[in-house]
Amino acid sequence: MSIEVRSISKTFGSFTALHDICLTVPNGELVALLGPSGCGKTTLLRIIAGLEQPDPGSGQILFHDEDVVDRSVGERQVGFVFQHYALFRHMTVFDNVAFGLQVKPRRERRSKGEIRDRVMELLRLIQLESQASRFPSQLSGGQRQRVALARALATEPKVLLLDEPFGALDAKVRMELRRWLRRLHDEIHVTSVFVTHDQEEALEVADQVVVMNQGRVEQVGTPTEVYDHPANPFVYSFLGNVNLFHGRIDVGHAHFDSIRVDLPPVRPALDRTVVGYVRPHDIEVSRTCSSDEEIEAVVSHIHGAGGMPRLELERLDNHERVEAELTRDRFRELALQVGERVFIRPKSMRVFVEGQPLDYQI
């Protein structure tokens, strides 16, 4: 079932949590709502679920082209996974998962045996069959989150909504669980929306990423689209680490100190300040100067652990900090020491003039 959000606004007192949000989630897709805390993503999710009401008269929520704004949360047939699991603490794992099936009106309720079969099937799916008679308090965080997911799936919801589903877990479990969620989604294809503030999680798991900031949607696209073609500086800097280069626009060029880049035919007004954004892995570091477009810098910190060793550098011309990531091979080849002088050059740069992208890369 597809979800469509049509100009939904939400204010809490004088604080506007959502400004006129429009959004479409196609049937069967897994969509991430990504943004910093307080950007309104959880509020939007809760409005879709029916746990919060949008401002009166502000817009519509359509499930499969049907307006559901006036329907109560129970009538919307959504599955909701809470950040802190919200498992029923006095019930066993089995009873938690069975809850949604047991509270159905008598004429819709399945027999005890059928409920039992369905619950055990779900417990097999989350690989917790052996824990059916344990209580939530006896499970680990990752296991609890899986139970919460099974409980939400038990009633065969048409839409699955997840609020920071892995937020309370440690890094390793979180990684395993999000891959598991992706595989699960590939199996059951229920239209799903999950909220996260972790860009890595959103980019890895989702079909579509909705980047939000301050109650507005900044960009919607596939992970590759939003990462490679960010619509504005916010999206660019939110999706990864970034180095800023300040420069000015000249005829046909932008100058970032010694670096000169050609501009596309669209001509912005002259003598404007521009900002060039460079990802750390797009900074090239070398011991020797090979062209006059390089900037001299001093190595101030080395973080050698991990798959991409990082260097913290200080430019000699304006003393700004620059972060560079190297491949392990390159890192070993350079064998740099703190305090050494190096030359850096951006291999790729994205230029925004007053917040608008100039579709340009070096």
């Binding site: 959504v78 909701f80 029923f88 509270v103 209580f135 006896q138 680990s140 296991q143 009633t155 390793k172």
Partner: protein, 299 residues
């Protein structure tokens, strides 16, 4: 988790505490002071009640309960508690629910109002009812016209008892329900449960021990209340005397054996309450210990 395990292996802090280790006499002094105080103010009076009650033998003790006035007092006390406790269970639960799960204007005022019966002297509480329902009171003439008796009758005693014992259930529940939040209820609603199902299957089981604890305390106070009931009762022997009032009358008539025999009922009630309270606390602690138990190793 290694840190937690190491911590658990450490000896209990009070055993090795420097003060205790160096000056054992301080420990003994404190313990004997406490025990002495308890003996003087708690155990001796308790023993006195039973000694006095049994001074003329078992037969005299039981004969005290054969008096119709005593039986009427016991009956009235039981009736009062049977009305006041269930009502306060419902009121307390409703108030706690409203305060813990909803945000509304005047929420803090409501919390303060719930504490009012604790803050006001019971005698004043009783006087308020006399002022409201008494013959010279606001509603007195209207009640007299319709031949309804509140003051110096059972309804007044029940009303005063309800007022005095109102906070017990609500005060037990509010902090617990606030701490538990309303996410589990929201989860139940999303799963399609209606309001009743959510209450019976999710909210109530989560607060049952606190609720029971509140009910036990509420019951003890309902049966033992003296001040407020004394003001509204009128002390009509065999009609409007509860156990505490009956004890007072017997005592004032120098009928010591009977007075202490009836008082021993209240003492037994107190002991039962303490036992039940400890049992409930123990059960509740066992359940919290379960929820706080360190989680199994991450999968």
């Amino acid at each position: 988790m290694a840190g937690t395990i190491a911590l658990r292996k450490q000896p209990l802090p009070d055993v090795t505490s420097p003060v205790g280790a160096q000056k054992p006499w301080i420990k003994w002094l404190l313990v004997s002071l406490t025990l002495g105080f308890l003996t003087l103010f708690l155990f001796v009076p308790l023993a006195a009640v039973f000694t006095e009650a049994l001074r003329k033998g078992i037969a005299a003790y039981f004969a005290s309960f054969n008096d119709p006035a005593a039986l009427a007092a016991i009956k009235l006390t039981l009736i009062t508690a049977a009305i006041a406790v269930p009502l306060n269970l419902v009121f307390g639960l409703a108030a706690a629910w409203a305060i813990a799960k909803f945000n509304f204007a005047g929420r803090n005022l409501l919390i303060t109002l719930i504490d009012l019966p604790f803050a006001v002297s019971p005698v004043i509480s009783g006087l308020i009812y006399v002022l409201l329902f008494g013959l010279q009171g606001w509603l007195g003439p209207w009640l007299a016209e319709h031949d309804l008796k509140v003051i110096f009758a059972v309804p007044g005693i029940v009303l005063a008892t309800i007022f005095v014992t109102f906070p017990f259930v609500a005060r037990e529940l509010i902090p617990l329900m606030q701490e538990q939040g309303s996410e589990e209820e929201q989860a139940a609603l999303v799963l399609g449960a209606n309001g009743w199902q959510t209450f019976w299957r999710v909210t109530l089981p989560n607060v049952k021990w606190a609720l029971l604890y509140g009910v036990i305390l509420c019951n003890a106070r309902a049966m033992g209340e003296f001040g407020a009931v004394s003001v509204v009762s009128g002390h009509i022997r065999g009609q409007t005397n509860t156990i505490p009032l009956h004890v007072e009358i017997l005592y004032n008539e120098y009928n010591f054996v009977a007075a202490f025999a009836v008082a021993s009922l209240l003492a037994i009630l107190a002991l039962l309450t303490l036992a039940a309270k400890s049992l409930v606390e123990w059960q509740a602690r066992r359940q919290t210990a379960d929820t706080l138990e360190p989680t199994a190793a991450e999968d």
